[in-house]
């Protein structure tokens, strides 16, 4: 099941040129970019692992693309996303965020049903990938 989080997630995968253009758009507006990765794509897992610090003072997307590629090299089977943060007073939030790499195989989620007191039923999302230990979740199947 293809994870759809962030901007452009219903589009085909962006090429590196397209990623560079989006990063250039963000930098032209003064939004510093940062790269994050995770292997737990649960929708409520909003804080992914940071790949280095946010990149301040960049003017050209080449530096952003360089870090994306470095991160891909280190984590070829993780989700990687690019954030652009608008620090302007009155906004101060992530202005643009999109996935730049996803694992080859995305097993998706199942719905767990739990019966609690008074016959109430609670539901929870469980990613199939989470059944395997961290770091091995999206490699080739054993």
């Amino acid at each position: 099941m293809r994870i759809t989080q962030g901007t452009f997630s219903f589009l085909p995968e962006l090429t590196d040129d397209e990623i560079a253009k989006q990063a250039a758009y963000a930098l032209d507006r003064g939004w510093p970019c940062s790269v994050e990765f995770t292997d737990d794509p649960h929708p409520r897992n909003s804080y992914w692992e940071m790949w280095g610090l946010p990149m301040f003072d960049l003017t050209d997307p080449a530096g952003v693309l360089y870090e994306v590629k470095e991160c891909r090299k280190a984590y070829p089977d993780h989700y990687i996303r690019l954030n652009a943060y608008d620090a302007r007073y009155g906004r101060q939030t992530t202005a643009l965020q999109f996935i730049v790499q996803r694992p080859r195989r995305e097993p998706g989620f199942r719905l767990d049903r739990e019966e609690t007191s008074d016959r109430r039923v609670r539901y929870t999302l469980h990613a199939y990938a989470l059944d395997r230990p961290e770091g091995e979740r999206y490699g080739d199947a054993p």
């Binding site: 990149m55 003017t59 050209d60 080449a62 007073y89 009155g90």
Partner: protein, 318 residues
């Protein structure tokens, strides 16, 4: 802050930035029998403005100006060749500026960044000026991220490393400078599309730096030497600086100013244009305190004219 900040994609505050004239649409390929007017191409690239400004604002430096004109011509011809579909590969434009202090290395680097941007060689045309401190870390594992961050910041423009020979300290083999040099070399080789590296420093020390880092020397295509200024060039520089700051020399001050420069040149630690600037700064100080001491009425001429005394009080005349 004026008014409410824009929010989200609201066009007024947050709209598209002004279109960049140099980054025009890629031109359509030409048929093999087409003819191109190079003069038109030149004016389209607006490179002449930068070159003319270089000629007008910088005194002397003939070899530097010639080399930069040659580079401009090469990039222009490459652009036209590319339109005919002739692929000639990107020229290597990493440079090394050597010369005495105050010969205009940094100033030329700023102009160069602008010129390379106009000719479409670099995407943004900004100059990131760094020294050893910005590249080399203080403990193990600190250097690589620091150097990479600087390189990322310089991408799309020109990285100017002032006094580059400090990067390599021969007397300390555990110095982290070597690590910075290795990363620098790697990026200079692999990401030639993304940035131009300009090393600057004094001639003799740069020579020994290159002798101990042969890889660095061979990756730099242009070694440009900045000559020292002649006395009349220094005078012209002084006039240019005073004009920019709204001062003039009284007719009787001119020989004094010339004599001052001659004496200053002979003294140790003479730093060419920088010394001229300092001399003018000190003359301004004396000029101001003279006016205040006289405490009479002043007119426009008194406020802008430097008299011989403003220079004669200097210690080079003692």
């Amino acid at each position: 802050m004026t008014g409410r900040p824009g929010f989200g994609m609201r066009p007024a505050e947050n709209g598209s930035p002004a279109p960049d004239p140099a980054a025009g649409e890629p031109l359509a390929p030409l048929p093999p029998d087409a003819r191109v007017d190079l003069a038109r191409e030149r004016s389209d690239a607006q490179a002449d403005e930068v070159l003319d400004a270089l000629d007008a604002d910088l005194v002397g430096l003939a070899p530097v100006k010639t080399r930069i004109r040659e580079i401009a011509a090469l990039l222009l011809v490459d652009r036209v060749r590319a339109r005919f579909g002739i692929d000639s590969g990107r020229p290597n434009l990493h440079m090394c500026f050597t010369g005495s202090p105050g010969t205009g290395k940094t100033t030329v680097a700023v102009r160069l960044a602008e010129l390379l941007h106009r000719l479409g060689y670099v995407r943004k045309g900004h100059l990131v000026s760094v020294t050893r401190d910005d590249l080399v870390g203080q403990y193990v594992g600190h250097t690589a991220p620091k150097t990479k961050e600087v390189l990322k910041r310089a991408m799309g423009g020109v990285l100017f490393i002032d006094e580059a020979y400090y990067l390599y300290r021969a007397e300390n083999e555990r110095d982290y400078g070597q690590e910075a040099i290795e990363i620098l070399l790697q990026v200079m080789e692999n990401q030639r599309d993304d940035l131009v590296v300009v090393l600057a420093g004094y001639k003799d020390r740069m020579d020994s730096f290159f002798a101990s880092n042969p890889g660095m020397s061979s990756r730099i295509a242009h070694h440009i030497d900045f000559p020292d200024y002649e006395p009349d060039e220094l005078e012209a520089i002084g006039r240019l600086m005073m004009r920019d700051e709204g001062y003039t020399l009284a007719p009787e001050t001119e020989p004094v100013f010339r004599a001052y420069l001659d004496r200053r040149r002979a003294r140790p630690r003479f730093a060419n244009a920088r010394s001229v600037r300092n001399a003018i700064e000190r003359a301004r100080l004396r000029h101001a305190s003279r006016l205040v001491a006289e405490s009479g009425e002043v007119d426009r001429a008194a406020l802008t004219t430097l008299l011989p005394d403003d220079f004669l009080a200097s210690r080079v005349f003692s």
